[in-house]
C-alpha cells in the first residue's frame, strides 16, 4: 500500500478543481476593501527627450481624482532598481529614456476615472536622438548598462587560423513579450505605524518588499507581500511588478486608503520589459569531419534603458552558447547595450535560449558547408570523455545527450523521415518540407550563487492536518503540488492532509525569486528539511516513551509504528501535542558545491544539467512563406520526475511558447521609437490551431539526477523552451531545398512567414552566393 499523493505520482494540480469551477482566487478577484482607490500612470510619449514642462492641472481637476503623485512626492528614493545600481527611476523627472516610461501616477475613485485623468497631462519635450535597436545603439556608441563578460578557454586566434575550414556569420534573434494571461497588478492596504500589506502578482515577494520599503523609507519589517497564485509569470513578474507595487503602496500610505493598480494590457506590453533581442556575430573553425576546433563570438543584447537583470541574462547567454558541444578553443564576449526601449528582463531561459540557438546555427552552417546531415555534425561535437570542459571551465559530468538523441532518433523514425523529406523536395514542387533534430543542454542554478537558498515553514496541527509555507510562488507550474507531495511522502500521510498556503513574506523571509527553474529544487528541499526536523522530535519523544531507540519509530502508510505498535497519524499527533512536543519547524536549504567567479570567468555555476531533444517536420509554401509544423517529437530529461503529468505539461507548454518566440511573435518599433505591437491583435501568440499537427512528447523515464536533488528529480521550467529550435532549423532546411541545400539560408528570428518568403526569394533570385570563406581559396 502506498499513500495517496506521494512523490513520483501523476497528481493533478492542487488548484485544479478551483480553476475549472472559476473559484480560484487571483489578486484581481480579492474583494476590494471599502474605500479602495485606483491608481493609474501617465506615460511618456517620446522615446528619448528632455521634459521641458509638465502641467498636471487638468489631471488634478478631472472628475473623481483624489491625488496626483510625482517623483517629488516619494518619501524615499525615486528608484525601483532591485540590483542596487540605482538606475531605474520610478518616474522619469528630467530625461525620458523610452516611449511609455511612467512620469506620474494619478489616484481616483475608480479605475476608469484614473485612466481618463492620466490622459489629460500636458507634457512637452525637447526630443533627443534615440536608438531603439542594436544596430542604432552600436552606431551611436551607446554605453553598456552593466559590465560585460568574457568566457575564454585555450587560445582561439591560433586555433582558428589553423582550422581547415572557417565560417563567419551573424544571426539576429528577436525578443518576446511574456503575455502572462493575467497582467500586472497590485493592491496595497495601509496598516498602523509604517505598515503596509501588499497583494501582488509577483514571482519575487521578497524583492517587492525591499523595493517598497526603500521607496517608503521604512524598514523591511513594515512591508508584507502576499501572493496566492499568478496567472502566469514566465520571468515577467520577477522584477517588473516592482514599480506598480511601489505606486500602490506609496499612494495607500499617503492617503491612508487601500489602493489598487491594474494595468491595461496595451500599457502592460509597452511599459514592462521583455525577452532580450540579440545580435550574434560568430566565427567557427572546423575540420573535414565537421568537428569544431574554435569558436569566437560576440553577443550584443538590446537591454533597454537600465540594467535590471541584463547582467545575469547576458551572462547566461554566454553560458549556453556551447549548448551540448565541446569547443576546444573558445572566446565569447557579451555586450549588454543600452537602448531607448523599456528595460528588458527575465523570460523563461533567461538569455540561455539566445545563446543556445547560436550554437545550433553554427552547427547548421557547418553541415551545409560540408553537405552533411546536421545531426551527424551535432553528434560529432557532443561533449564526451576528454572533451568535457565548458567555456566557463565547468566539467560536464552528467552527460546523457547522446542517449537522449539516440532514443529520439529511433522513436521518431528520423532517418527514414529525413529521406522522405529529401525525396519530396527533389520533386521540386511549391510546397517544400524540412526536418531537424536539435538537442538542449541547460544549466540549473542561479548564477548569482546567493540566490540558491530557500526557506520553508511547516506546521502540524494537533488534529494531524499539515500546513506548509515556503518561499516559492505558484504561477501554474505546479510547484505547490510538488512540494505538497514531498511533505506527504515525508510524513507518509495522504496529500489531502497537506495544505499549501499563499506565499507571504511574514511567514518565510528572505526568499529568492521563483525563477531559474529552481522552485522545486530549492523549496522542496527546504520543506523536506522542516519535515525531517519535526519527524526527529516526534521519533525522539515516542522512542523515549516506549523505552526504545529512535530508529524503532517508523512513519508508515498505516500510521506511525513504535516497535510493533502502530498508531494512526492523527491519534499519534494528538498524543504528541498532549505531551508537549513542538509540532512546527522551519526548514532551510542551500544548493551545495556551486561557485562562480565572474572576474576570471571560471567556476561551477551549475549544480547539474538538464537534457532534451526534439525533431520537427514542417511544410512551407514557398510562394507565400506560410508554413505549418506537421509533427514534433520530444524526449526530455527531468531526472526522476516528482510528478510526470505536471512535467509533461511544462514541456509541452514551453515548446509551444518557444515556437511562438521563433516563428510568429514579432516585436516591432516604429521610427519614433514606439512599440507598435502592444496587444495580441498585432502580436501573434500561438493558439491551438498553430501547434504541431502531431505532437509526441515523452519524458526520459530512465533518467535520474546524479546529484542528490529532491528525490533525484530535475528542474523543468526553462529547458524545454529551447526544444523549439528544431522548428526553426526545419524551416531553414525547407527553404534551403530551393537551391539544392548549397547554402544555409540563415533565417533570423522570429521566422515569420514574411521572413521565410524573403529567404525563399533570396535563394531564387540570387545566383548562388559566394559559398563560404575557406582557407587557401
Amino acid at each position: 500500500m502506498s499513500i495517496k499523493g506521494g512523490v513520483h505520482q501523476d497528481l493533478i494540480h492542487d488548484s485544479a478543481a478551483k480553476h475549472v469551477s472559476g473559484r480560484a482566487e487571483y489578486t484581481d478577484d480579492i474583494l476590494e476593501p471599502v474605500g479602495t482607490l485606483h491608481a493609474y500612470l501617465g506615460f511618456s510619449t517620446v522615446a528619448h527627450g528632455r521634459i521641458t514642462s509638465i502641467d498636471l492641472s487638468a489631471v488634478r481637476a478631472a472628475p473623481g481624482v483624489v491625488e496626483v503623485i510625482t517623483a517629488d512626492d516619494l518619501p524615499g528614493e525615486n528608484d525601483v532598481s532591485a540590483n542596487g545600481m540605482h538606475d531605474e527611476p520610478l518616474f522619469a523627472t528630467d530625461e525620458v529614456l523610452f516611449w511609455g516610461q511612467p512620469l506620474f501616477a494619478v489616484v481616483a475613485e475608480t479605475r476608469d476615472a484614473a485612466r481618463r485623468a492620466a490622459a489629460l497631462a500636458e507634457v512637452s519635450y525637447d526630443t533627443l536622438p534615440h536608438a531603439t535597436d542594436i544596430a542604432a545603439s552600436r552606431a551611436a556608441g551607446a554605453p553598456l548598462v552593466t559590465p560585460p563578460l568574457t568566457l575564454k578557454r585555450g587560445a582561439v586566434k591560433p586555433a582558428m587560423a589553423a582550422a581547415p575550414h572557417r565560417i563567419k556569420g551573424q544571426m539576429e534573434i528577436g525578443g518576446q513579450d511574456h503575455f502572462y494571461l493575467e497582467g500586472q497588478l497590485s493592491l496595497a492596504i495601509p496598516g498602523e505605524d509604517e505598515d503596509v500589506r501588499i497583494f501582488c502578482s509577483t514571482q519575487h515577494p521578497t524583492e517587492v518588499q525591499h523595493v517598497v520599503a526603500h521607496a517608503l523609507g521604512v524598514p523591511a519589517h513594515s512591508v508584507t507581500v502576499t501572493v496566492r497564485r499568478m496567472g502566469g509569470g514566465f520571468g515577467g513578474k520577477e522584477t517588473q511588478m516592482n514599480a506598480f507595487a511601489v505606486i500602490a503602496a506609496v499612494a495607500a500610505k499617503r492617503l491612508n486608503r487601500p489602493v489598487k493598480l491594474r494595468l491595461d494590457r496595451d500599457d502592460d506590453m509597452s511599459s514592462t520589459g521583455k525577452r532580450h533581442d540579440f545580435l550574434a556575430e560568430y566565427e567557427v573553425g572546423f575540420d573535414d569531419e565537421g568537428r569544431i576546433l574554435a569558436v569566437d563570438g560576440d553577443f550584443f543584447a538590446r537591454c533597454g534603458f537600465c540594467s535590471d537583470l541584463s547582467g545575469p541574462v547576458t551572462d547566461r547567454a554566454l553560458f549556453h552558447a556551447d549548448n551540448a558541444y565541446f569547443y576546444p578553443d573558445v572566446e565569447l564576449r557579451s555586450h549588454p547595450l543600452m537602448t531607448h526601449t523599456v528595460s528588458n528582463t527575465a523570460f523563461r531561459g533567461f538569455g540561455g535560449p539566445q545563446g543556445l540557438i547560436v550554437a545550433e546555427r553554427i552547427v547548421e552552417e557547418i553541415a551545409y558547408h560540408l553537405g552533411r546531415d546536421a545531426l551527424e555534425v551535432r553528434r560529432a561535437n557532443f561533449y564526451g570523455p576528454g572533451r568535457d570542459l565548458t567555456p566557463y571551465h565547468q566539467q560536464v559530468t552528467d552527460n546523457i545527450m547522446a542517449e537522449v538523441v539516440d532514443e529520439l532518433v529511433a522513436t521518431s523514425n528520423y532517418a527514414a523521415r529525413r529521406q522522405a523529406v529529401l525525396d519530396w523536395n527533389a520533386k521540386g514542387g511549391i510546397i517544400r518540407k524540412g526536418i531537424a533534430l536539435t538537442p538542449v543542454k541547460f544549466g540549473i542554478s542561479f548564477t548569482a550563487t546567493w540566490f540558491n537558498q530557500a526557506g520553508a515553514l511547516v506546521h502540524v496541527y494537533s488534529d494531524g492536518s499539515i500546513q506548509v509555507n515556503h518561499g516559492g510562488t505558484e504561477m501554474g507550474q505546479g510547484l505547490h503540488t510538488k512540494v505538497a507531495q514531498v511533505v506527504a511522502e515525508a510524513f507518509q500521510v495522504d496529500i489531502d492532509r497537506v495544505k499549501i498556503t499563499a506565499t507571504t513574506t511574514d511567514k518565510v523571509p528572505n526568499t529568492s525569486a521563483t525563477a531559474a527553474s529552481s522552485g522545486t529544487d530549492l523549496n522542496g528541499m527546504a520543506a523536506l528539511n522542516a519535515c525531517e526536523a519535526i519527524k526527529a522530535r516526534l521519533a525522539a519523544w515516542a522512542a523515549d516513551k516506549a523505552g526504545l531507540p529512535a530508529e524503532a519509530v517508523v512513519f508508515g502508510t498505516e500510521g506511525v509504528s513504535v516497535g510493533d505498535k502502530v498508531t494512526d497519524w492523527a491519534k499519534f499527533i494528538g498524543a504528541a501535542y498532549m505531551d508537549r512536543v513542538q509540532l512546527s519547524a522551519t526548514g532551510f536549504y542551500k544548493t551545495p558545491e556551486i561557485h562562480w567567479n565572474r572576474d576570471t570567468g571560471q567556476g561551477r555555476p551549475f549544480y547539474y544539467f538538464a537534457y532534451g531533444a526534439s525533431v520537427s517536420e514542417v511544410s512551407v509554401d514557398t510562394l507565400t512563406g506560410e508554413y505549418r509544423v506537421e509533427r514534433t517529437d520530444i524526449l526530455h530529461d527531468v531526472g526522476k520526475s516528482l510528478n510526470p503529468a505536471i512535467d509533461l505539461g511544462q514541456v509541452e507548454g514551453a515548446f509551444v511558447q518557444g515556437m511562438g518566440w521563433l516563428t510568429t511573435e514579432e516585436l516591432w518599433w516604429d521610427d519614433k521609437g514606439r512599440l507598435r505591437t502592444h496587444a495580441p491583435s498585432t502580436y501573434k501568440i500561438p493558439v491551438a490551431s498553430d501547434i504541431p499537427r502531431e505532437f509526441n512528447v515523452k519524458l526520459a523515464s530512465w533518467s535520474e539526477n546524479r546529484e542528490p536533488t529532491i528525490k533525484r528529480s530535475k528542474a523543468v521550467g526553462e529547458p524545454p523552451f529551447m526544444l523549439a529550435v528544431s522548428v526553426l532549423e526545419a524551416l531553414n532546411m525547407a527553404v534551403a531545398s530551393l537551391d539544392g541545400y548549397a547554402n544555409c539560408p540563415k533565417l533570423d528570428t522570429p521566422a515569420t512567414p514574411e521572413r521565410v518568403l524573403m529567404a525563399c526569394e533570396a535563394l531564387r533570385s540570387a545566383p548562388a552566393p559566394a559559398k563560404v570563406l575557406e582557407i587557401g581559396e
Binding site: 473559484r23 497582467g183 505539461g649 507548454g653 491551438a688 490551431s689
Partner: protein, 164 residues
Amino acid sequence: MGKKMHIQMQVNGKAEEFLAEPRELLIYTLRERLNITGPHIGCETSHCGACTVTLNGKSVKACTVFVAQADGAEITTIEGLGTPDALHPLQTAFKEHHGLQCGYCTPGMITRATKLLEENPNPTEEEIRFGMAGNICRCTGYQNIVKSIKAAAAEMNAAKEAAE
C-alpha cells in the same frame, strides 16, 4: 456620469436587475457588480478569450460587450456550469487531464468548449484546435486542453447514448 439604464438579465439562472451606464462592459458587470470572478480579464480587446461567457446561447467575449447589449439576456459563466461537487463533464475532464496550469484561461476555455461541443458533438482533434482558436493559453501548449475536450466529448456522448 452618463445616463443610467435599467438592465435586467439572467446570470447563471439567477435574475439580476440594476441601473447601469449603457457603456459599462459586461465583464465589469459580472466581476465588479455581481462578484462573479470566474471570467477573467486578459486583454480587454477580444483577443485572448479569458473573459468568454455564453450570451443567449453564443460564445461571446464579455470584455467587448456593452451591458446595454446584454439587457434581457441569458448569460452563463463558468460558475453556472457546475459546482466543485457537481462538475460539468468538461470541468471534470480539464481537471483530470491536466487541461490547465496557471488556470487563468481555464474558465473561458471551458465555457467556449461547451458551445463547441454543442455545435459539433463529435469533433476531430483538428476541429477542436480550430474551434478553440479564439482562446489563448500561454501555459499549456494546448495539448492537454485538446485532450480534455476530446475526453469530455466521449463522456458526454456515452451519457447521451445511455440515456436514449
